[in-house]
């Protein structure tokens, strides 16, 4: 609810157009200059939790705080407004005084709101630090908190699965190392290093991918649904998710343009690999569809009423058995990814492989960057 009659301030600063309805801030002189009043008004609305992750949002918050500080200055300098008031000599003095008082009141309330907001920020920060500490402790102890039929959630919301947290940590390191290797490949290619050195880089990049598949296999045993959800990846990467990871055929599409010039033999081999990986992918997808179908059938088969409970139990046992197959599918999909990389390495020269791996590293990095940008994008005020 706006403080002080909006109309009053408008009349004083006669030439200013007030497009915003919320005129809580005192100085009429300043009002026309700073048009994002609506943004400042949003402070009252709480600090959205996810903005702590986005540098974009927090810098907006900082800007808002700075903006408000500037606005704050004006009520204290009472000389400012009164100069303006002198020009309007026809207004009765008491009206002017009343308006001054209202403006001061508005400014005071605004300062109080700001104070409350900052306090809220501070306590949220403390809470966050506390929670992070608890999480670290839990990870160190490998604690499995809460545990029921394999229900697992991420991070702070509910039970913490140690296999999942271990994987998240390892994956974080994996990404860092990948980025490092990608930069190294780029530098090496630009510096025209020898084939021997390139081969070392290529082979360590490939074995790095092997590491990924290895930790994923362990995570799959721990919580296959988590892996399949792709929550461990960034949002844009998740868009491309296929059975817990990237599609082998997509990998080839990213690599191929980078490999020219290819010999005729290579062109044929790459073409064959594209075709066979697509076929293998399709076969696995079909299997997954069948699994979904089977599972749905298992859960919807109607019990004929007489022994409903045992039917239900039977259904569940049956369904549980089917879910085990999911682990195999994820493993097989990873196997496909690994094989595609290995085959490409066999077909290509070392230099081509290096360029291909660089392209792949860049591609995933860009997808991650896109996810961050998207998360930090300016949104319409609620």
């Amino acid at each position: 609810m706006p403080l002080g009659p909006p109309g009053a301030s408008r009349r004083i600063s006669s030439s200013n157009n007030m497009s915003s309805a919320s005129t809580q801030f005192a100085s009429p002189r300043k009002m026309g200059i700073f048009e994002p009043n609506h943004q400042i008004g949003m402070w009252g609305d709480s600090f959205k939790a996810d903005s702590s992750q986005n540098t974009g949002a927090s810098s907006i918050v900082e800007a808002e705080i700075r903006l408000h500080n500037r606005l704050e200055d004006s009520p204290r300098t009472t000389l400012g407004p009164s100069k303006k008031y002198d020009q309007e000599a026809n207004k009765p003095a008491d009206k002017v005084l009343r308006r001054l008082a209202q403006n001061r009141e508005a400014a005071r309330k605004s300062r109080l709101r700001k104070k409350a907001y900052v306090q809220q920020l501070e306590s949220s920060r403390l809470k966050l630090a506390q929670i992070e500490q608890q999480l670290d402790q839990a990870k160190q102890q490998g604690v499995y908190i809460g545990g029921n039929l394999g229900e697992s959630t991420l991070g702070l919301s509910g039970s913490v699965n140690s296999g999942v947290t271990a994987f998240e940590m390892e994956y974080g390191h994996w990404v860092e190392e990948q980025n490092r290797q990608t930069s190294e490949l780029r530098a090496a290619l630009q510096a025209h290093v020898s084939d021997i050195e390139l081969r070392m880089l290529v082979e360590s990049a490939l074995s790095h991918y092997d590491n990924l598949f290895r930790i994923k296999a362990i995570a799959a045993k721990s919580d296959v649904f988590y892996l399949m959800s792709g929550m461990w990846k960034t949002a844009a990467e998740r868009f491309f998710l296929w059975i817990g990871g990237f599609r082998p055929s997509e990998l080839l599409k990213v690599l191929s343009p980078q490999l020219d010039p290819l010999t005729e033999q290579q062109v044929i081999a790459v073409g064959n690999l594209q075709q066979s990986s697509q076929q293998a992918e399709d076969a696995l997808s079909q299997g997954m569809d069948k699994l979904q179908q089977n599972l749905a059938e298992t859960l919807t088969s109607d019990s004929s009423g007489t022994s409903a409970v045992s039917d239900y139990m039977g259904q569940m046992v049956n369904a549980m058995g089917k879910l085990e197959a999911l682990v195999s599918f994820v493993n097989q999909a990873d196997h496909l990814r690994q094989q595609t990389l290995q085959q490409m390495y066999k077909i290509l020269t070392v230099r081509q492989a290096a360029r291909g791996l660089l392209a792949l590293g860049d591609y995933f990095q860009r997808l991650r960057a896109l996810s961050s940008l998207w998360a930090a994008r300016p949104r319409e005020p609620a």
């Binding site: 081999a269 064959n272 690999l273 066979s276 990986s277 076929q279 293998a280 399709d282 076969a283 696995l284 079909q286 299997g287 997954m288 069948k290 699994l291 089977n294 089917k322 197959a325 195999s328 599918f329 097989q332 196997h335 496909l336 094989q339 595609t340 085959q343």
Partner: protein, 103 residues
């Protein structure tokens, strides 16, 4: 075991499967895509299925022996192996040699 080898040599491509097994479905799907007419034996629907399954477990050395693929009467392996072969471009020649494909 005899039954297994007998069935395995009856056709160019023989797949021992279980009707509920989705992995088996993937392998069958792949062969279908390649234009291969594989002979499929569903162990859960065969009266001697349990016996054959035991034999396959011994052959493959793993708990779940399906899908078990035989090409040209010889054991090739399970899903893993088939996928590796195919990506390496070695499955199709194998199929051709066994007479399962004519292109």
């Amino acid at each position: 075991m005899d039954k297994v080898t007998k069935l395995a040599s009856q056709r160019a491509v023989v797949v021992f499967s279980r009707s509920s097994c989705c992995f088996c479905y993937s392998v069958k799907s792949l062969f279908h895509e390649l234009g291969v007419n594989a002979a499929v034996h569903e162990l859960d629907e065969d009266p001697r299925g349990a016996e054959m399954e035991r034999a396959l477990v011994k052959l493959l050395g793993r708990r779940s022996p399906v899908p078990a693929v035989f090409i040209g009467g010889k054991l090739v392996g399970s899903t893993d192996r088939i996928m590796t072969l195919h990506l390496g471009g070695n499955l199709v020649p194998l199929l051709r040699d066994a007479g399962a494909l004519w292109l």
